[in-house]
């Protein structure tokens, strides 16, 4: 009972300290919030795009001897007027380049696609020296890039078709068969229709797509907003860092009490010293658990973070609590006063947090292999692994290895720290 009384007293004192609350809850939320607003503003917090306004000047004409029924320019033009892209591309025809450029200058459109007069003829002859010209508003980046990609894909498709037909003709000739011009025209038309349908289906009706990209995890389609996913990793990193700090700070109460004289006074009461130390450890555990829960709930509502399956989350949180409490007890057991405690906690936990990858959780492409290997030697690294797995939706069984590694490290550190405290105070 006295253990809980001591723990409750420590918790009351912690939660009355503005500094403690700031470090426990406000600082991690504030830092995560700053990252959220920084990245959220790049997409306006919403991934939907305003329509790209495209002007098309199609001057392409079919050469007299062409086997095609229509110039390639028509295919390129029709791509921007297709029903499937109407929600995000608004296309307009312009009679010539001057008219289109004038519209661009007036900012009526953002991108102009100019298909020159002899595009089909030169393309079919294999010279390809009359390119499609794309002119864009210099203040735009995404719209012109999308249009360029679409044109490139269409032209590549045509080139692919040309190569295929050329190969068929060569094979026929090699076998002594004279290609039938009417048949070639039919092939081109069939290929063109197939390629158009393929493009349409690939990007706009995934259920009918000829090519489906499958995420490597669990065989389920990705449904999480990338921003949310990034925020999940960021928040986890912040939460872990500050959980370790909170545990150290909470454990520092034993030094504070030593300096305030209340620890000596406690020793004069009929309360055994093991109970006093245990009460303080219990307070550290409860503080870190409460901090984790508050941050998770805040992260869910403030940033829409989906932490994962409840059992996995519970395991990740327990690992965090055990590791943070263990390291907190160990670090503070080496410290002689609260004045020493600040720099030791601040410096030590920042370095260990960096080594554990807490601040580099969102580096594109990840960190070098050596860096990841170092993370295996610090508890923060294993706690982060557990959280990342939980955030990725891993089942609880998958978390057993990081959980076990964290518990072993935490318990060893806790045992060493508790022994040092007992030798010092008991």
């Amino acid at each position: 009972m006295k253990i809980l009384d001591i723990a409750f007293k420590d918790l009351t004192r912690s939660f009355r300290s503005a500094f403690a609350i700031g470090m426990m809850v406000i600082a991690p939320l504030l830092l995560t919030g700053l990252i959220y607003f920084a990245f959220g503003s790049m997409s306006g917090g919403d991934v939907s795009m305003t329509a790209i306004k495209v002007g098309v000047v199609n001057e392409d004409q079919l050469p007299a001897d062409a086997v095609l029924e229509a110039p390639i320019g028509d295919n390129i033009r029709s791509m921007f007027f297709d029903e499937s892209v109407k929600s995000w591309i608004t296309a307009s025809d312009y009679p010539d380049e001057a008219a289109a450029r004038a519209a661009l200058d007036r900012q009526e459109i953002g991108v102009v696609v100019i298909i020159p007069q002899k595009f089909t003829g030169r393309y079919l002859s294999g010279k390809q020296d009359v390119p499609v010209l794309i002119v864009s508003d210099p203040t735009l980046s995404i719209g012109p890039a999308v249009v360029e990609d679409m044109v490139t894909m269409m032209v590549d498709g045509v080139a692919g078709g040309g190569i295929a037909i050329q190969t068929i003709m060569e094979r026929q000739q090699a076998n002594g068969i004279q290609p039938d011009p009417a048949q070639i025209s039919s092939w081109i038309e069939r290929y063109g229709n197939w390629y158009r349908d393929f493009q349409r289906a690939l990007f706009h009706t995934p259920d009918r797509a000829a090519l489906i990209l499958v995420a490597p995890v669990a065989g389920e389609a990705e449904t999480v907003d990338p921003l949310q996913k990034m925020m999940g990793a960021t928040m986890a990193g912040q939460m872990i860092f500050f959980a370790f700090f909170t545990a150290g700070y909470a454990m520092m109460s034993i030094l504070r009490e030593d300096e305030e004289g209340t620890l000596a006074r406690l020793f004069t009461t009929p309360t055994d010293r093991t109970s006093i130390l245990t009460g303080k450890f219990v307070a550290v555990f409860i503080t870190v658990i409460l901090q984790g829960l508050v941050l998770m709930i805040a992260g869910r509502f403030a940033f829409g973070i989906q932490w994962g399956a409840p059992a996995s989350v519970a395991l990740a949180l327990m690992a965090q609590v055990i590791a943070a409490a263990g390291l907190g007890v160990l670090l503070i057991s080496f410290v002689r006063s609260t004045k020493q405690g600040g720099p030791v906690l601040g410096g030590g936990l920042t370095v260990l947090g960096m080594l554990g990858g807490l601040f580099t959780a969102n580096i594109p492409g990840g960190m070098p292999v050596a860096f990841d290997a170092i993370a295996n030697f610090v508890p923060q690294g294993w706690v982060l692994k557990g959280w990342r797995m939980a955030l990725d939706g891993a089942p609880v069984a998958d978390l057993f290895i990081p959980f076990a590694a964290t518990v072993v490290m935490g318990v060893v550190m806790f045992a060493i720290g508790a022994r040092m405290f007992k030798r010092r105070f008991a």
């Binding site: 009972m1 009384d5 305030e260 004289g261 406690l266 004069t268 009929p270």
Partner: protein, 311 residues
């Protein structure tokens, strides 16, 4: 049964012997003062009594419970008021008292009513919800004492509770000690103020350099120096110049000098003082100030150690 019994208590820190063979006792219901200068070993002695330090040798009992063999029972009989304020500044006066009460095993309605009583005793009922950190030094001292009284201990140890506080708060604390004693509590009071020891105590143990050098009632201790009067003098010349002449003067029991100030113990100041002036006059030395004190604990300490209590 004696409330406090200290037998040949010793405490060493390395080669340094902080307490050497200390022995004294207090009957139930009396006030016993440990009087001595800073560093005399008073705090170390009560630290062993209250279970903070383990004795190197010897033993002490509180209400018959050995602090070595039955520490929990001894602690349950004790209320300790530390020299420095030992409270939680960010908890209210009431929260502090409730917490300390729980540490002595009080719970529920008994705890609540006892906290109310103690708040009344220390005169802080109106301020019970205020954080202790906002209190004045004197108010903190009162809460500091109150926290030791919650479980109605048989013995209260007070370690220099009046150090560094204003006269009004000091008076309040001394009155509290008397009140507690009237209620039947045994009080072990450490101080280096002989006036406090004289006012409060039934028995006084004088400590110096880790040893109990005298023990007895106030009057018995005074009798150790007989009817000797203490005379403090300052001179316009080196004190050493006069000491040998004065030592040979009839009626001078003891004479020493510290920092140019001469302190003498004499049998009858009315007769001896003119002789001291005459001797000084013969030697061409002028006495620039004289202070005469009737026999008191200060005189006793001087008599026993050759030093003033506050040296």
């Amino acid at each position: 049964m004696k409330a406090i019994e200290v037998n040949n208590l010793k405490k060493s820190f390395g080669d340094f012997q902080a307490v050497q063979d200390a022995s004294f006792s207090a009957e139930a219901g009396e006030v016993l003062s440990l009087l001595g200068p800073n560093g005399a070993g008073k705090s170390t002695t009560i630290s062993m009594l209250s279970g903070l330090l383990a004795p190197t040798d010897g033993d002490a009992c509180v209400m018959g419970h050995s602090v070595i063999r039955e520490p929990e029972a001894a602690k349950q009989s004790l209320g300790v008021v530390p020299q420095d304020i030992a409270l939680y500044p960010d908890l209210s006066a009431r929260e502090n008292l409730v917490f300390w009460g729980k540490m002595y095993g009080l719970r529920g309605p008994a705890l609540k009513s006892r906290v109310d009583e103690v708040l009344e005793i220390i005169g802080l009922t109106d301020r019970q919800k205020d954080h202790v950190g906002k209190f004045s030094g004197g108010m903190k001292r009162r809460v500091n004492i109150g926290a030791a009284l919650l479980h109605k201990p048989s013995v209260v140890i007070m370690d220099e509770p009046t150090v560094g506080i204003d006269p009004q708060s000091r008076r309040h604390i001394l009155d509290n000690v008397k009140e507690l004693n009237l209620q039947g509590m045994t009080v072990l009071y450490t101080t280096h103020y002989m006036e406090e020891a004289a006012e409060l105590s039934h028995h006084i143990a004088i400590m110096d350099k880790g040893k109990v050098i005298a023990y007895g009632t106030h009057d018995a201790l005074i009798k150790m120096v007989g009817e000797q009067t203490r005379i403090d003098m300052t001179l316009n010349a080196e004190a050493e110049k006069m000491l040998s002449d004065w030592r040979a003067t009839e009626g001078v029991a003891r004479i020493d000098s510290t920092d140019g100030k001469v302190t003498a113990l004499v049998d009858d100041s009315n007769r001896v003082l003119p002789r001291l002036f005459e001797a000084a006059s013969r030697a061409g030395v002028r006495i620039t100030s004289v202070d005469i004190q009737e026999p008191n604990l200060e005189t006793v300490f001087l008599h026993l150690t050759g030093r003033a209590l506050r040296d």
